[in-house]
Amino acid sequence: MSQSVADLPAQIYTLHILNKTAEHPRAAQCLATLAAADIVLLIENAVLSAPEVTTAAPCPVFMLAADARARGLTATADVSTEAAGVTPQIGYEQMVQLSALATRIISW
C-alpha cells in the first residue's frame, strides 16, 4: 500500500526520521517533540514499533516498505487491521518527497 504525492500534506513543519524501536530512549524523546503538523517516518528497526508509535503520535506516521518487508511485516488489506490503524508503507521515492516538503528534518 503506497501513498501518492496527492495524499501527502501540502506542508510539513518537521519530518522526524526515526530508526530505533520504541524502547530506545531517543524514540521517547522523538515522541515528546511531535506536533500535529509534523510527519514521522519509521525506517530500519523502527518499523517494528509502528503500531505503538502510530497510536502515540499526534501526526501521521509512515514506514519504509523495504524495512517492513525485510522484517516480515507485510502490508495487509485485512479490514480488522485497517481499523486498528495500519501504518502506511512508502518507498524511498516518497521518502525523498517527504524530505522535500518538510521545513526541517530531524533524524533521531
Binding site: A46, L64, Y92, E93, V96, I105, S107
Partner: protein, 137 residues
C-alpha cells in the same frame, strides 16, 4: 515536477557499513533523490561513517560492497564526498597526503572520497538541506 520543488541535499552518514543500515538507507535515498531530479551537493562521512571510504573492505561476494557501491554512485553523478579528518584519522582511514605526513605504512581511502574538516559540513548546512543517517543502535 516544477523546478521550485527541486532541492539541494547534503547527506551526512555517521553509521558504519556492516555495523548499521545507515550506508544502505542513505544510498537508496540518494538514488531516489537523483532520479527525482534533486541535486546532492555533497556526502559527508562523520564518526563511524568514515568506514564507507575504505579501499580495503572485503565483504563476501554475496553481500553488497558498500564502499564500492558508494564510490560508483558518487563517481557516476559527480557528487563530492568528504570523510571528516578527525573521525577518519582516529579510525585509521588515511589518504596519501596523511600517509606521508604521519609516515604511515599505507593509505586506504577510496576514490572519490577526500579527507577534509568539519568546515565542509558547516558550509554545506548553509546552502542545502542536510539529512543525517545514523546507526540504529
Amino acid at each position: 515536477m516544477a523546478d521550485i520543488f527541486l532541492k539541494t541535499y547534503t547527506l551526512v552518514i555517521t553509521g558504519a557499513p556492516y555495523s548499521s543500515q545507515a550506508p544502505q538507507t542513505a544510498l537508496d535515498f540518494a538514488r531516489a533523490a537523483v532520479t527525482a531530479g534533486h541535486q546532492i551537493d555533497r556526502v559527508f562521512l562523520y564518526g563511524d561513517g568514515v568506514h564507507i571510504a575504505s579501499a580495503l573492505a572485503c565483504p563476501p561476494s554475496d553481500e553488497p560492497h558498500w564502499p564500492k557501491l558508494w564510490s560508483e554512485f558518487l563517481t557516476e553523478h559527480q557528487i563530492p564526498a568528504v570523510a571528516c579528518v578527525a573521525s577518519a584519522l582516529r579510525r585509521g582511514l588515511v589518504d596519501s597526503g596523511e600517509q606521508q605526513r604521519y609516515e604511515l605504512p599505507a593509505y586506504n581511502v577510496r576514490a572519490p572520497f577526500e579527507i577534509a574538516g568539519l568546515g565542509e559540513w558547516v558550509e554545506a548546512g548553509t546552502c542545502s538541506k542536510v539529512i543525517y543517517f545514523h546507526s540504529g543502535a
